[in-house]
Every structure is written in C-alpha cells, then in structure tokens.
Symmetry: C2
Subunit: 459 residues, 2 copies
C-alpha cells in the first residue's frame, strides 16, 4: 500500500492501515510513518499518532514536525507525554524545547525527570543560534592508557548501540578532550595495542558557543560527519552529528532565499503557515519597500514640467529603472553570497568596487546599445513616432542606461559590504535599500541627462 492510499484511509478515520504499515513490516523507517502523518490534516495526524503502539510512538515522535510534536504533548496524558519526552535522544529533546517558548516551555519542562530537566535547562541558557542547541549529550569516553581489547570490553558493557558510539572520545581525568577515535580503528588494529598508540593526534572540535553556521563550515572544511563539542576549558560536553547540521544548513538557505525574495523568513513550511502569519511576514517588507518607493513619486514630481513638455520621456521610465534594479540585485546577490561563503570580506571592498564599476559600465553599454537600436528601429519602421529629435532621445536613453546600470551595480555591491561593516545581516536588509536607492536615484540620473541633452529641442 502506498503513501497516498494510506493517507486517504487515515483521513477517513481508518488507522489500521498505518498500524499495519508501521508494525507489520520490519522494513519501515520511523521517518516514513512521520511522512505519512505530515500528509494529512493536523487533527487526523494526532489521532493516527495516538493509535500507534507506545514503542513506535517514541521512535516516530522525533521525525514529525514541531507543530505535531506540540499537539501530541498537549493532548497526551501527563504520564505518556513525560515518557515520550524523557526517552528522546538528548539532541531531539533540545530541538523540541528550543521551539517552544514562554509559559508553554515551562509547563513542558515539568514533564521531564530531574536529570533531563537540569540538562535541558543548562542548554537553553546558550543562545538560540549556538552549537550547544544541537548537541547530543550521550557519548562514549575512554582512557588513553588502556588497551584496545580493554576499551572494547568497556564499551560493550557500558554503551548502547546507537549512532553516538561511532566515534569514541579519549579524555583525561578532568573530562578534558584529548582526541577522537573512529570506532573502526579498534577493529582494524591489534587488540593488544594501547589506545594511546592509535591516536592520530589531530582533533577538530567545536565550542558550545560557536554559531551553527560556523559548525556547518567546519564540517565542510574538515570533511567530518561528527565533531566533539567542548566548553572553553576543553571539557567534552557533547557531540554534534552532521545530519543535524544539514537541517540547519537547509533552514538557513531557506531563510536566505526568502529574504532575497523580500519575505521575512517563515518559521514553518509554507503549507503549515497560517494565512495571517503569512500576510504579516509579507506585509512588513512590502510596506517598507512601498514607503521607500514613494520617493520615486516625489522624485518624478520635480520633473513634471519636463514630462509634460516631452511625454515620450515617461514612456521609458519603467525600462530605465528596472534595468538599474536588475543590475543592482545581480550585484547584491553575488556579493552577499560570496561574503556568506567567506570568499569575500569587507576588507576586499576596493577590489569589489573597481570590478563592479567596470562591470557596470560594460553591462550598461550593452543595454544602452540595445535601447538605442530599439528606438532607431521603431522610429524608422514607423512603429512609433518619437518626433524629429528621436536620435537625441535615443542618445539620452543610451547614456542613462550606462549611468544607471553602473550606479545600480555599484550600489548593489557596496550596500551589503557597508551593512556588514555595521554588523547588520546583509542578506536581510540589502534588497529594499538597493531597490529604493537605485530606483529613486535612477530617475534623477535619467531626467538630468535628458535635461542636458534635450535642452533647446524638445525640452
């Protein structure tokens, strides 16, 4: 039975197929059950989850989205919710508590046993964006002075079979991190060797307070799949696996792309975001952009005399300002992305400026030429009559495009660098600034060039 058929049955209130799917078949991964629950309305998902046997619930819980997780905790008996939350792996537990705030968080914290409550409380003291919020506090440690055989014996007795046992950490008596050993090295070496003999002396680690973005960068730079996390005294406090970082990377990119598109980053997926939350996220930027763009009306107001003398000038306003906007957003995109990949820093501003001025002039020349040809062709094929001074008008368009594209490119590349200099996230704030600045100043450039070239003819 496929996903769609099971979803249909779930919506009809028939949970037996999900049960059959989740229990009868050993080859079903909890994430597949979670995917099924995601595909049906919230109330159905909750009922279906509750129909699962207790041991399956625990496994599935960590794969469902936060909205359903909250629903489940709220609508379960205190005992059951407590059981689910205490049995979660420590990183999934932190993820859950990080996503609930205020009174809700306090009441949910009461569901944990003392040990877990203290642990969660500690971690929640670290900033939202820190590595601490992602760590798994279960990990395996050994002493460097024992043999491999002894180490294996120790692990077999003390450690559960889960992913945190893929890498073993060597610590000193104060719990300070000395090195990490992938567990494969225990079986690929002679068991009589000492642990100290198979250390490679090279250990990359993260600090609790590092940002999630820094962690993503470190995983990529060192090609690791798991990294130890320590406090400032180098005491090992947890481990971070790359799959958690992959989610973070994707969320980060999603917000970055949404910011580019002029939407405040959504907290939940589009389909799960309520209509009013969606309007709020969008209205904020739209209003900021709109208020900024109102200056275009002011700017054009200064040139109303010119427009009434030469209406033909108005025809090219959308073309002119959109070219400035497009070239500005190209430049901003390239620079913001290069900064976020650490290919560029604010110190490179002079390199960027020279390069972008030259790019702007070249691109402006290309567009200007096309614009000139467009007017010449329309005029000479009698598609539109720009008047006897059409060649001067075409020259105005040509020069304006060079000026505006160059200006757009320059602003687009410099604004992100300036914002970064003042510690403002360029991805979030550049778009409206670039758009407004380029549109308003673009109009001024255009009408000023027109005033100079067309003076005495059509103006």
């Amino acid at each position: 039975m496929n996903l769609k058929e099971i979803s249909k049955k779930l919506i009809k209130g028939d949970f037996s197929s999900l049960l059959g799917f989740a229990n009868g078949n050993k080859n079903v991964h909890p994430s597949e059950v979670a995917k099924m629950l995601y595909s049906v309305p919230a109330d159905t998902a909750l009922k279906a989850f509750q129909s699962l046997p207790a041991n399956t619930q625990g496994k599935v819980f960590s794969y469902v989205d936060i909205l359903l997780q909250k629903d489940i905790v709220k609508h379960s008996t205190k005992q059951k919710a407590s059981h689910i939350l205490n049995e979660l792996s420590s990183d999934d537990r932190i993820a859950f508590y990080s996503s609930v705030k205020g009174v809700e968080r306090s009441s949910f914290l009461e569901l944990l046993n003392e040990k877990n409550k203290d642990a969660v409380h500690d971690i929640l003291g670290y900033p939202d964006n820190s590595v601490a919020r992602l760590i798994n506090t279960e990990f395996a440690t050994i002493d460097r002075e024992i043999t491999i055989a002894e180490a294996i014996e120790h692990l077999r007795k003390n450690h559960k079979d889960n992913e945190t046992a893929n890498v073993i950490y060597v610590v000193d008596k104060d719990g300070k991190l000395i090195d990490d050993i992938p567990v494969r090295r225990f079986i690929l070496n002679d068991p009589s060797k000492k642990v100290a003999d198979i250390l490679d002396g090279y250990c990359v680690s993260l600090k609790m307070t590092e940002t999630k973005e820094a962690a993503v960068a470190k995983f990529m730079e060192y090609d690791r799949v798991v990294l130890p996390v320590t406090n400032t005294d180098n005491v090992l406090l947890g481990v971070l696996t790359v799959d958690d970082v992959l989610d973070v990377a994707e969320q980060k990119y999603t917000k970055e792309i949404q910011n580019f598109g002029g939407v405040e980053g959504l907290d939940y997926p589009y389909v799960k975001t309520s209509f009013f939350a969606l309007i709020k996220k969008r209205a904020t930027w739209l209003i900021i952009l709109f208020v900024g763009e109102m200056f275009t009306a002011t700017a054009m107001g200064y040139f109303d005399a010119e427009i009434s003398k030469a209406v033909v000038l108005a025809l090219f306003v959308p073309l002119i300002i959109s070219s400035g906007g497009n070239s500005g957003s190209q430049a901003a995109t390239l620079i913001i992305r290069a900064m976020s990949l650490k290919e560029l820093t604010i110190k490179d501003w002079w390199f960027v400026m020279r390069r972008e001025i030259l790019s702007g002039l070249t691109l402006g020349f290309i567009l200007g030429t096309i614009g000139f040809i467009r007017i010449a062709v329309w005029q000479n094929l009698h598609l539109y009559n720009y008047g006897e001074h059409w060649a001067l008008l075409a020259t105005t368009i040509f020069l304006s495009l060079i000026g505006i594209v160059m200006w757009g490119t320059l602003s687009g590349s410099m604004i992100p660098i300036v914002l970064k200099k003042f510690n403002i996230d360029p991805a979030t704030s550049s778009a409206p600034l670039v758009a407004t600045l380029v549109d308003v100043t673009g109009l001024v450039i255009y009408f000023s060039i027109a005033a100079i070239i067309l003076k005495g003819t059509i103006l």
Copy 2:
C-alpha cells in the same frame, strides 16, 4: 604563525613557513594548508604547492579548488601528476575529472593506471547530476554467515584505516546488497554471534542514477551519514558520505540564490571568476529582462494621450509597477522554495491559487490604503498639488494597487507551478517571466482603471 603572516611570506616567495606549518606541526590538517593556498594568487599557490614534500602534496591536493588542481596537474611532471591522481580517493578523483572537459579530460585520463582509468571512464558515463559522480568505490563487504570475530579478522587483514570502513556492507555471492552494519555493532556485540544476527533488516540505499538532490533529501530524511549506492540490480557499486552531499547542497543553494538574483549560476567563486566570464553570466539575464521590459515602453505608448493630459499619472508609474514586482517576487520565492523542499507539488495549484488571490487582495488593500493616505496628506499639507480631482486620483491609485498586487501575487505563485508542469526549472526561469509580465500588465491595469475613474474630469 597565523594564516595572514604565512600568506604574506608566500607572496614574497618564502615557502619555508608553509613547509614548517605543514610538516613541523602534526596538528595541521591538509585543509588548513589548502586554505592558505587559496588566499594567495594562483602562481604563488602553485609554487608553494610544489615546494611541499610529496606525501603532503597528495593529502593537500584533494582539498584545493579545481582551478589550482588543474594548474598543478598541468605544471607537474607526468610521473608526479600520475602519482597524485592515482593516489586520490576514488570520489576525489571523479570530482576532478568531472570538472575538466573535452581534450583536457582525455589528456588527463592518460595519467591514470588502467584500473583507475576504466573506473573513471565508467562513472563519467553517468549524468553530471547523478549520485554516481560522487561515490567512493572503496568499501568493505562481508558475508552474513560468518561470525563477528571472523568478520573483524577479515577486515583487519583486508581493509585500510579510512572513513569507508565506518560502515560494513553485507552482500550475497553476486555482490547484491543485503544490509549495512555500522562498525560499532561489531564491538558492542558478543564476537561469537553471527553477522546475520546483528542485522537490523532495514537498509536505505541510493541508485547510481538518482540525482544529487534526491540524495541530499534521503540523507536528511533518514538522518544518515553514509549510504550505499547500487545499480538497478541492487549490486553494491559504491558508498556516498554526507560531507560530499553537503558540498553539493551548498553549491545547489548558491546557484539557486544566484538564479533568484537574476545571474546565471557561477561555475567558480566570485573572486576566482574572470571579468569576462562574470559579464557573460550577468549580461545574458540582463538582456533577456531588458528585452522583456521593453514592452513596458510599448504599453505606455498606448497611453501617451492620457499621460499628456494628466502628467500626474506618470508620477506614480514606478511606485505602481514596483509594488506589483515586489509582491510577485515574494510569492514566487515562497512557492519555488516550498516546491524545492517538496512541501508543495503541482497538484496543489488550486490550494495555492485560492490562498494567493486572498493574500494578494489583502496585501493590495494595505498598500492601496497607504497610497491613498500619502496623496491625501501631500495634497492637504500642500506638499504637492495633484489638482482639484486629487481624491479621484487617490482612488485610482488605491484600486490599481489592489489589482496589481493581486495580479503580481497570482502570477508569482502560478508561473513557477506552470513551469514545473512543463519540466522547466522554476528557480531559473521564473524571475524574468514574473517581472516582465507583472510590469507590462501592471501598466495596463493602472491606466485602464485611471481611464474609467478619471474620464470626464482630468482625462
């Protein structure tokens, strides 16, 4: 000595500090040497690389960028280049050959030994975007009928200590994949148990022909760090580790963001892309957008009589069309991202359409109200004189904004879905279509509403 000091010395031709850095200190990761080489000009980087001892070169090579890799291969003796390329891990080797094309690829292929050449040749037969291009063909297999102790003995004899031994694969006599076992399970279980007894019967795998994006999704869905890759007959051909996918994910997001900003995805980082390559990547889209936007001049041409009668109408053109464009790009961003995260499919078009029409009307109403107030305030504070019929003009702006924002939102959300339906990548092609369509039709909506409302007064 820090990165900056070493870079400075390198540029001066003093490679000894790099050498000291790379050799003298056991705690230096090859990626750190690579980072150093990235920070200096290409010719210095090449010379510095060549000054490294042979065994360090091999390790550093896989961490430097493709441009330097090509330089190194071209400027080394045939024997040395051949040694470096043959010693690479199979996934790094494929990555190198995937990035060189045509004659260069053929000549570089000659540097490989027969076995590696055949293997690379096979893999290059798969599409650029397939999982096959990322796999590591070194992996450890065992039989299910032996004991854990025998398996460990077998691995110790036959397998090198590298990351591919973190997970062991159980295959049948035809090489078909049965299951995967994290190596930790060998040490956490009694050595006298049979391999068959510690299998969990649940094995996620990838096909050679699956796309890289599908692989990213699978890693995230199942929280795995390594996945086996098979052909259509389920024969195990290689393994894929998540760190390679992380690079792919980042490249994918970079291209996606660049496409959003109206730039063709760059092949190399901004700073390493030549001026002319950069112009080419940008000019293409700028010209397409420019040609599209030329229709705005045509559209406005039809209304030149209205503009000459009421110049005041022209003043609001930039504000009106930018609002349509902004709301369109918001909607497009949200929908494209939701589709790429598989939260939405083309089948959801009706849900999206209803939602976006309602969103558009709401957002348009908000902006329209602000626009109306703006005109009323300016008029009554005598900041600008819109004439005796200013209230009608303000009503025109109000209604136009509702219409245009609704239309922008609708187009922005539907164009990506339509493109997807025709198997065109919405991320690449939506922006120009949305921008052009919304700007041109926005003008028509604006002037049509103006014609109706202002007829008999200022028109």
